[in-house]
């Protein structure tokens, strides 16, 4: 099962390389989502299934959607006319689709091979992580809640529409 790790590592490196070389922001975000998926597969092979699920749900699901919202919000004004003409050109999506197909092939291989992957020495499940999180790391959880509250207040304050600046420079 270690071959799964190395294939996923190569996919992660290729996808990340495309993230920093893509000119279009949405294409770069697509490649970054593929990179996060491959890192999630790597977490699974390392014996950390809980973190692998969180990587897909929170990173690729929530944070990347936030990025896409902002890119769509700003890109609407930048290239609205050009975007209407662009259909489903294969050059736009064939790269992420191929890399994601490799990861899907790994998934089917794991399904059809016998048993769960045993590349790691031992699988550390959600129970051990939760006991450690709310036992010795309870203070860290409280500080993380402070951080999230500060992020919430800061994002609200920065995203609020400023009436004074708009009145001065319409």
């Amino acid at each position: 099962m270690t071959v799964i790790f190395y294939i996923s590592a190569i996919v992660a490196i290729i996808a990340t390389l495309r993230v920093i070389t893509c000119a279009h922001a949405v294409h770069a975000l697509l490649y970054f989502i593929v990179s996060l998926f491959s890192v999630a597969v790597i977490f699974f092979t390392l014996g950390a299934p809980f973190v692998a699920a969180l990587e897909v749900i929170i990173y690729a699901g929530a944070i990347m959607v936030l990025f896409l919202f902002v890119v769509m919000l700003l890109g609407h004004e930048l290239e609205d006319a050009r975007r209407q003409r662009v259909g489903f050109r294969p050059g736009d999506w064939i790269g992420p689709v191929l890399l994601a197909a490799i990861l899907a092939g790994e998934l089917f291989y794991v399904f059809w091979s016998s048993g769960p992957p045993r590349a790691a020495a031992s699988v550390i499940g959600p129970r051990a992580v939760g006991l450690s999180l709310f036992g010795p790391y309870l203070l860290g959880v409280e500080i993380a809640s402070f951080l999230l509250l500060a992020g919430l207040v800061g994002a609200y304050h920065l995203g609020r529409r400023d009436e004074d600046a708009e009145a001065q420079s319409p």
């Binding site: 790597i42 990025f67 902002v70 550390i124």
Partner: protein
């Protein structure tokens, strides 16, 4: 059944972190810079999870959860700043905002 050596996980994390820092230094679009920071945070989390798997401890995964929390807070504030920058300067170029007082 062989175990994945810790060295290979750390080499992969180093490569991903290097790619992130190259993207942060090369790109001048603010959104790409934020994505590069995400790449670097993800590589750091990969190193933590790999070390935790090597010593068969849950501490690495707990640290990854803290990194995830910090990344979420950082992205929300950073994207709010990007929206403010675009509304003020009508560009996403980081070099356009090189003055403290606009």
């Amino acid at each position: 059944m062989t175990v994945i050596p810790l060295n290979h996980v750390l080499i992969l994390a180093t490569i991903l972190f290097g790619l992130g820092i190259v993207g942060l230094l090369v790109r001048r679009n603010v959104i790409f810079m934020l994505v590069s920071i995400e790449v670097m945070l993800n590589a750091a989390g990969l190193a933590f999870v790999g070390a935790g798997a090597h010593w068969q401890s849950a501490d690495g995964q707990v640290m990854f959860l803290f990194i995830l929390t910090m990344a979420a807070a950082e992205v929300s504030v950073g994207l709010a700043l990007v929206l403010r920058l675009y509304h003020q300067l009508h560009t996403l170029d980081a070099d356009a905002a090189d003055l403290m007082k606009a």
